[in-house]
C-alpha cells in the first residue's frame, strides 16, 4: 500500500491546542493534511468512547491534545484527563489495541510549531504502521466476507 494515506482524528481542547493549531495556520506553517480536528471545550470533556468511535469508524490513528497542566481554562480538566489517559491507555494496550496509533500531547495556544510537528510525526508513524486493518475488519459492514472476520 505504497500510496496509503492514514486517516488521523485529533480531539483537541478549544482554549489551547485548537488555538495553537490556528496559530500554525496563521504562521503559514505547512503540515500533513491527514488530520481531521474535532474541537471540544477541554481535554476533561474528551471521553474515551470518542477514541473508540474514531477507530470504530475507520480511523488509522488518533491524537488527543489540550492545555499543559496548570493552564487549563477550567482549572482541572486536564488533570482529570491525564488520570483517565493513564488508565485508558494501559487498558487498551492490555487488550491488544495498538497504542502506537494513539498519541497524547499538551500543546498550548502559543505552540503553533509544536502542533505542526506533532501532526507530522504522528502521520508519518501511523503511515509506517499502515492501515489499522485488524480493527477495521471487526465491523461486518467492512468485513471482507470471504475471510468472515467480523465473527
Amino acid at each position: 500500500m505504497a500510496d496509503f494515506e492514514p486517516k488521523i482524528i485529533a480531539f483537541v481542547c478549544n482554549w489551547c491546542t485548537y488555538a495553537g493549531a490556528d496559530l500554525t495556520g496563521t504562521s503559514r506553517i505547512k503540515y500533513a493534511s491527514n488530520v481531521r480536528v474535532v474541537r471540544l471545550p477541554c481535554t476533561g470533556r474528551i471521553d474515551f468512547m470518542l477514541l473508540m468511535k474514531a477507530f470504530g469508524r475507520g480511523a488509522d490513528g488518533v491524537i488527543v491534545s489540550g492545555c499543559h497542566p496548570n493552564d487549563c481554562h477550567y482549572t482541572s480538566g486536564n488533570f482529570h484527563a491525564r488520570r483517565r489517559w493513564i488508565v485508558f491507555r494501559s487498558l487498551i494496550d492490555f487488550m491488544g489495541i495498538d497504542v502506537r496509533r494513539v498519541h497524547f500531547a499538551w500543546v498550548s495556544a502559543a505552540e503553533g510549531a509544536k502542533w505542526a510537528d506533532l501532526v507530522n510525526r504522528v502521520v508519518s508513524e501511523v503511515r509506517a504502521l499502515g492501515p489499522y486493518e485488524g480493527y477495521k475488519r471487526l465491523a461486518p459492514v467492512r468485513a471482507d466476507w470471504r475471510t468472515r472476520d467480523a465473527g
Binding site: M52, R83, V87, L91, F94, M95, I97, F104, A139, D149
Partner: protein, 262 residues
C-alpha cells in the same frame, strides 16, 4: 456462625428494624441462591458457607427490591466494600440499610451504622491476590499482537447477554450507554466491533470503582475472564496513584506521573 446470623436476622425482622433480609439460601445443582427473607420464621433458611460468594449488593439498587422496604444484607468483605462505594457515589446513605457483616475469617460482625462498616472495610488492604496478579502479569508479558488475538478469541464467544453488567452491583445506571442510540456508541450485535467496544467501555466505567468481587466472570455463561480487565485497572491505579480516599478517576494529584504525553 450461621445460627448467630439467623438469630440476628430474626431480631432485625421481628423488631421491625428492617422489612427484608437479603442473604443466601440453598439453591439447585448443589449451589446457593440469593434469598429474600421477610418473615422472622423464614430466617432459618438462611445459610452461610464457602459457596456463598454472590455480591448481594447488586439487589440494593434494583427497584423491585427497594419496593420491599428497608433491607438488611449479609455482607462479606467485597460486599461491604461495594456498599462503601455505593455510599461514596450517593446510591446508599446512612439508615438506608443494615449490614450483617461477615469477616474474611467467617465471623459475624455487628456494625451500629454504615459509617463504622465503611471504616472497618477501609482498614482492610485492597489489593490483588498473588494468583490474580500472576494472571494479569501473564497477559502483560505477551506482545500487543498476541494480546489482541487472545482477547479476540475470548470476545468471539461473547453473545452480549449483559450478565456481566446485570450482575455487577456498580452497574446500576438506569439507561446504560449501550442502550443509548443517539448516538449509537456501541454496536448492538455481538460481532467483533460490538464486543470489543462493549468490554472496553464496561471496564473503563468501573475504573477506580470495581471492588474485584469477581461476579462478572462468574456470571459470564461462556467463561470470559472479564475481571482480568478490571483487575488490570486496579493494579494500574494502585501503582500509579496509590491509595485515594475518594475513587481514583474522580480526583487527581497535580503531580500525577506519566511518560507518554508529549
Amino acid at each position: 456462625m450461621q445460627d448467630n446470623m439467623r438469630r440476628k436476622a430474626k431480631e432485625l425482622l421481628s423488631g421491625g428494624a428492617v422489612r427484608v433480609v437479603i442473604g443466601y439460601g440453598e439453591g439447585s445443582g448443589g449451589g446457593v441462591r440469593a434469598l429474600f427473607v421477610r418473615k422472622p420464621e423464614d430466617a432459618d433458611r438462611l445459610i452461610y458457607d464457602e459457596r456463598c460468594v454472590q455480591n448481594l449488593a447488586v439487589y440494593l439498587t434494583r427497584r423491585e427490591v427497594k419496593a420491599l422496604g428497608k433491607p438488611a444484607i449479609v455482607a462479606r468483605v467485597p460486599v461491604m466494600r461495594t456498599i462503601r462505594q455505593l455510599m461514596i457515589e450517593k446510591q446508599a446513605a446512612e439508615g438506608d440499610l443494615a449490614v450483617i457483616g461477615v469477616s474474611s475469617d467467617g465471623s459475624l460482625l455487628d456494625f451500629p451504622d454504615l459509617k463504622s462498616m465503611a471504616e472497618y472495610v477501609s482498614s482492610i488492604p485492597f489489593e490483588l491476590s498473588s494468583d490474580e496478579r500472576a494472571a494479569v502479569g501473564k497477559l502483560e508479558k505477551m506482545t500487543a499482537g498476541e494480546r489482541w488475538d487472545w482477547w479476540r478469541g475470548q470476545f468471539s464467544r461473547c453473545i452480549k447477554c449483559y450478565a456481566c453488567r446485570q450482575s455487577c452491583p456498580l452497574c446500576y445506571c438506569e439507561r446504560c450507554t449501550v442502550e443509548c442510540n443517539q448516538p449509537q456508541w456501541i454496536s448492538v450485535p455481538s460481532h467483533g466491533l460490538g464486543n470489543l467496544e462493549w468490554h472496553v467501555m464496561r471496564a473503563m466505567h468501573l475504573a477506580g470503582r470495581c471492588v474485584n468481587c469477581g461476579d462478572c466472570s462468574r456470571a459470564c455463561p461462556v467463561n470470559i475472564p472479564l475481571n482480568l480487565l478490571t483487575q488490570k485497572i486496579i493494579k494500574d491505579i494502585s501503582e500509579e496513584f496509590g491509595d485515594t480516599e475518594e475513587y481514583a478517576l474522580n480526583t487527581f494529584k497535580p503531580d500525577d506521573k506519566e511518560d507518554f504525553i508529549r
